[in-house]
Amino acid sequence: MKHFLWKIGGEAGFGILTTGLVFSKIASRLGYYVFDFIQYPSLIRGGHNTYDVGFADKPVYSLKQDIDLLVCLNQETFTQHADRLSPDSLVLYDSSEFDCVGPYKKVSVPFKKILTDLKGQVVMKNTIALGATIALLGGDINILYDLLTSQFQKKGQNIVDFNKQFAQAGYDHIQSQYSAYIKNRLEKVDNQEGLVMSGNEVFSLGCVLADCKLYVAYPMTPSSSVLSVLADWQDKTGMLARHAEDEISVINTALGGSIAGVRSAVGTSGGGFALMVETVSFAGIAEIPLVIFLSQRPGPATGMPTWTEQGDLLFAVHAGHGEFPKIVLAPGDNDEMLDLTLAAFDLADIYQTPVIMLSDMLLSESHRSISKQKVQNLIKTHKVDRGKFVLEPDVVPYKRYKITDDGISPRLVPGAKEAYYQSNSYEHLEDGHTSEEAHVRINQIDKRARKMTAYLQKHFKGPIVLGDYKNADTVFITWGSTKGAVQEARKILDEDGIKTAQLHFTYLHPLDPQIITPFFKDKKRYIAVENNSRGQFEKLLSMELGIKIKEKILRYDGRPILAEDIINTLQKNNK
C-alpha cells in the first residue's frame, strides 16, 4: 500500500498540533507506520500552522511532497499548499467560507454550520475534520472516540460526549454526501504494535531507561518538550527535572550532579549550547561525565526558531576552548534515538567526558512509529554501564586522575570515607592538585587523549550500510535526520533500476579513519546529503580522512530535505 499523506492546516493557536497528533495515533492504532511533521511560526498566535501525517503499512522514512488529503481549516492552507495537490487529491474545506479552485476531489464540510448547530467553539472544527477524515478513508470512528475519551475524561463524561458529537457530525456528513469518495485507506492492518513518539519523547524515555537522575534545561525550541516531559514524569520516575535561570547555570548544575555521582543531562538548542561551551571544556579537563542533548534549528543567532536545520555539527565537534576528548553522536530516526541515548549515558560514564547527542527540529518534534516490542525489550534487558565509577577508593590517598593505559581513572563517589579529591579545571596532578609542570601537563593531555584511542577501539561504530553497497554505483552519505529522506529516495531510485546504497553515520566524532577510509576507496559516485548550506559532515570527513566528497545535496531554507529533493537534484546533476 502506498504511503498516504494527510495534511491539515489552520490558524496558529487553534488546535492544529493536537489534531495532527490524534490523527497519527489513529493511524498507528490501526497498525500503520506514521511519520508526521509540524510547521509553525515562532509566534503563539496569528500565524499559520500545518501538520502532515504520512502513513503506510511499511515503515515510513520521510515526509512526502504530494498531498493525498488536505484539510483546509482556513483558505491559506489551500493557497499555500495547492502546488502539492494532484487531481487525485482530496481537499476538505467549507465551501461556505471560501472556495478551492482547481481540479481536485473537493469535499465540502459545513464546519461553520455544524459549529453553530451544536454550539461549538472554533477549535472543534478540528474534531469535525477528524471525523470527516476517518469517514473518507474508511476508518473506524471508535478509535477517535477512544482518543477523545482519554483526552477529555478528566473533565467529565459530558465533555467527552459533547466533543464526540462533532466527530460524529463530520463522519456522518461524508457518509451521506461523499460516499463516492470513500476509499479503504484506514483498514486495520496486521503489524506489530507501535508507539507514536517524537524524537524528544524518545530521548526522554531513553534518559529514564538510562537511569539519568538529573535533567537540567532552560526552554529553547526545539528541545523544550524534553523538559516538559521529564518534569511531568518526575513523580513516576524519581528523576529531578530542573528549569534553571540560564544555560550557564543549567550545565554547571548538571555537572554538579554528575560530580556527586548521579547521571545528569542537559538539553538545549544552538544558542543555549553556545552559552554552555565554556563548561563543556570544564567537563573535558575535569573528566566529568555529561550528556548534552543539542537539538538544532536554523541559525545563526535566533534564526528561524521553529524550523529545521543541521547547522551546528562543526560547532558541536569543536565546542570548547582547548583540547579535550568529546564524543558526538547523531541519531537518524527514533530507533537510533533510543539506542544512542542509552549509549550516550554509558559512554559519558565510561570515558568520563561530555557526550553530545545531536538532534534537530525534524527529529525532535516529528512523531514517528517506534516498535513497542523494541522498547519493552530494552526495558527488560538494558543494563547501564557506569564504567570505572567506584564507591570506595582503590588506594588511599586516592588519585582522581591516575595515569592508566586506557587513560581512564577510577572515579570515586564524593562522600566515600577516608578519601577526598577535587574535580579541577586547572591542569593537575594525578591526585587533582593544580600543577603547571611541563611533564604533568604532557602526561595528563596524553592520558585524556588515550581515552579516545580506547573509545575508537572499543565503542566507535562506523557507518551503517544501507542497500547493496558492493554493487551500488551511487552512494549517499547521511547523518542525523536526512537518513529517512535518502532511504525514501533510494526506494524510488531502486524501482527505476538505479543502484544506490547509503552510508549512514551515527558516531560522528571522533572518527576512525581506518574503519571509514575503506568505504571511500571505490570508484563510486559519492553524494553527501545534508540539511545545511555548507556540507558540514563532508567537511568533517575531509578533515579526518583527507577525502573530498565532490557532490552534495543541501537544503537550507529551514525545511527538511525530501526524497523528491534528492531525486530532482540527482536528475539535474545528471544532465
Binding site: V208, S249, T253, G256, A260, F282, P414, G415, Q422, S425
Partner: protein, 283 residues
Amino acid sequence: MTPLHDFSGYKPTWCPGCGNWGIGVAIKAALIASGLTPSSVFISFGIGCSGNMNDFINAYASHGLHGRALPVAIGFKLANHKMKTIVVAGDGDFYGEGGNHFLHACRGNHDITVFVHDNRVYGLTTGQSAPTAQKGYKSKSTPGGIIEISVDPLSLAITQGATFVSQAFAGDTPHLIDLMTKAISHKGLSLVNILQPCVTFNKINTYAYYLSRTYKLSSEYKSDDRQLALQKASEVNEERFPLGILYKQDKKSYHEQVQVLSSGTLLDSKSSIDYTELMSDFE
C-alpha cells in the same frame, strides 16, 4: 573532633599579610567546629586568589569555572543533599561574573553556605576593580576611577530570598569562625560576605580602613527585622560595615520542597518505574 591538619592541603601561596590567610584558617576551624571531615563536605571553589584555596584545603571539591561555583554546588546538593555543601569564591567571581546565579539561588533558598572573599578587586588578574569597589576607585581597568557604585550584595540577598545574610572581617578570626560555623549550621542559603584586605593591589581598603569602619551588630540587634537589615546592609554606600548576622529567617530550603527528594537522595535512589504507564501516552 577532626584535627585541623586533616583539612590542611598545600601551603597557601597567598601574599604575606593577605586577608585570605585568616579566612583559610577560619574555614578549617569552622568545618571542624561543625563536626565535619574532609570526606563529609563538598566545597565548590570559584576562580581567583580566593578560589586557589582548592589546593590548600582537603575536601571533596570542585575547582570549576570563574563565576560558576554556585550552580555546581546546587547540582551537587540536588544529587546528594545529605552532604554539606559550601561555596568559596571571590567578589569578582561571585557578584560579577556569577551575579545571575547568586540572584536566582537566593530565590530558591538552596541549602548552601557561601563564603565570599570581598577584597574589592580582582586579585588573581592583578588588581582590576571588582563590583564591590567603592565608586571612584582607581585601578588598572578604571584608571579614572570606577563610575559604578559598589554592588550591595547583602541587600540583594535579603530582598531576593536568602535566609542567612551576614558580614565578617578577615582581620577578626574568632568572630569569623563563629559566623562561619553558624552559617554552616543554617538550613537554607547562607551568605557570609567577608571583608578581606588585598595587601598587594588594594591600597585603600586596608586593615586599618576596615578597623575604623566596621562595627559589630549589638546583641540587641534583631536579625529577623527585614527592614532594619536592609538599612544596615546599605551602609556600604556610606563606607560603614556592620559585622554579624544582618538577617536570618527560618524557611524550608529548596531540597526539602522537592517531591522526588522526600524519600532520600538522588544518589541513593533506586528506580522502579512503571513503564507501562509512561508508554500509554504514546499509544
